[in-house]
């Protein structure tokens, strides 16, 4: 199995979720994150003190996928997340050794 992680723009979450649904993936885990990269941050001013904020809000999505689906899933996510502007983010996949569904103890593909 693979763990696909995507760090993307927050407002793309809905599109990604729908695209995954359409593909047949019905579970994912989301965390709030901040990213640093090419996309520039912004400046804030408080009583004349100017702050450069260079972290940009992102969300981080994790999806466990069967080996065979992984590549296609990555494409699905990339497509759904894309706006074409700098800061669209990254998607990467890691090899998973074991995956278990807590409720039943099922392992491997059955755990999804």
């Amino acid at each position: 199995m693979k763990l696909i992680t995507a760090v993307v723009k927050p407002h793309r979450l809905d599109e990604i979720k729908e695209a995954l649904q359409a593909f047949g993936v019905h579970g994912l885990t989301v965390t709030e994150a901040s990213g640093y990269g090419r996309q520039r941050g912004h400046t804030e001013v408080y009583r004349g003190a100017e702050y450069t904020v260079d972290l940009v809000p992102k969300i981080r999505i994790e999806v466990l996928a069967e080996d065979d689906d992984a590549e296609q899933l990555i494409d699905v996510i990339v497509k759904a997340a894309r706006t074409g502007k700098i800061g669209d983010g990254k998607v990467w996949s890691l090899p998973v050794e074991t995956a278990v569904r807590v409720r039943t103890g099922e392992r491997g593909p059955d755990a999804l």
Partner: protein, 429 residues
Amino acid sequence: MNGTDTGFVLISAALVMVMTPGLALFYGGMVRAKSVLNMLMMSFISLGIVSILWVLYGYSLAFSGDQGGFIGNLDAIGLKGIDAASTVDSFVAGANGEPHKIAAFAFILFQMLFAVITPALMSGALADRVKFGAWMIFVALWVTLVYFPVAHWVWAPGGWLFELGVIDFAGGTAVHINAGIGALAAVLVVGKRIGFKKDPMRPHSLPLVMIGTALLWFGWFGFNAGSWLGVDGTTARMAINTQIATAAAIIGWLIYERIRHGAFTTLGACSGAVAGLVAITPSGGHVNAFGAILIGIVAGAVCSWAVSLKYKLGYDDSLDVVGVHLVGGVLGTLLVGLLATDGIGGLDQLGKQATGAFSVMGYTFVVTWIIAFAIQKTIGFRASEEDEMTGVDQALHAETAYDFSSAAGSHMSATTSSVAAPVSKKVEA
């Protein structure tokens, strides 16, 4: 000069002052975290702009003399000729039947704060999406061309609705109908938020909404009872009816909501309170306890229904200024025509009330639309799509409302460079 009445009006004025920040918080809690500061500022700035314009010429246009029933004159421009010894008449009369006198400054201050809150009320309709500079210009034009005349019509001797005998104890027509219809016109010009009816736009902090509600309700006692410009039994009646109608409207809103949507919500309770306060504003001095209960229940239930209209009709009145202030204001203004005690109420009075309500609606809608359109076509009213998506707080005000990042350190990289060059002027407000 009557000290008691002057003192009461001064304290009432302080209470009315706190309504505008209260409104800012009420609205601020309802928007998303990315535009709360802009929302706060849209209300709050009215305290800055309108107070000054009121002193410069607003008071004079509204309350000094009369020209054709439509507007005052310029004799009191810059408060010319008014000093600490000047007085105006209270509605309270002495044993001899003569009206009590209160300090003119107290009256001017009290009325100033009505002028302040009225445009602030409109701001909720335009949440999340207008340029702040444009909003400031809008406020200045709107009070000048809309509020000052309408206040004259309704409250100044000589004003045509005043002379007609329209009852508007504390501002149902001049304040709430006026702001509600103005909001509708502005919304039609400015257009919908990106994602309206599609994206979730739930309130980012309901406790903040509750804080705002508390300050509004509290201040409203000054708004309503203070409008009698002194203390007697009518003042007390207005005060108790304010409480009764507000309570009833909470109940009315919640019952409707429970039946229609299955839950008693906090936002519903707060909204109901405001709807009740709006509806009792024009009417509370002239109805008895049952009248107040009726007005409250009706206002609560009807406004609870009315706030969903925007989804059906497709105008994006973001925080329901139309659904609450216009609808609630009209209800209160018409109902007092029917329910007024002391032999005033009846179909005849109802007709006058309707005349008042609809003429203000007509005038204000047209003039507001023109102002908003003119701004839109010249400097632009609406923020850029990118700024709206990012959030107007960051984009227009160069601030973030909250930073709860972990106690032990900020996750932000920032450099304080206050002595360096100002930020790029791309920040456009």
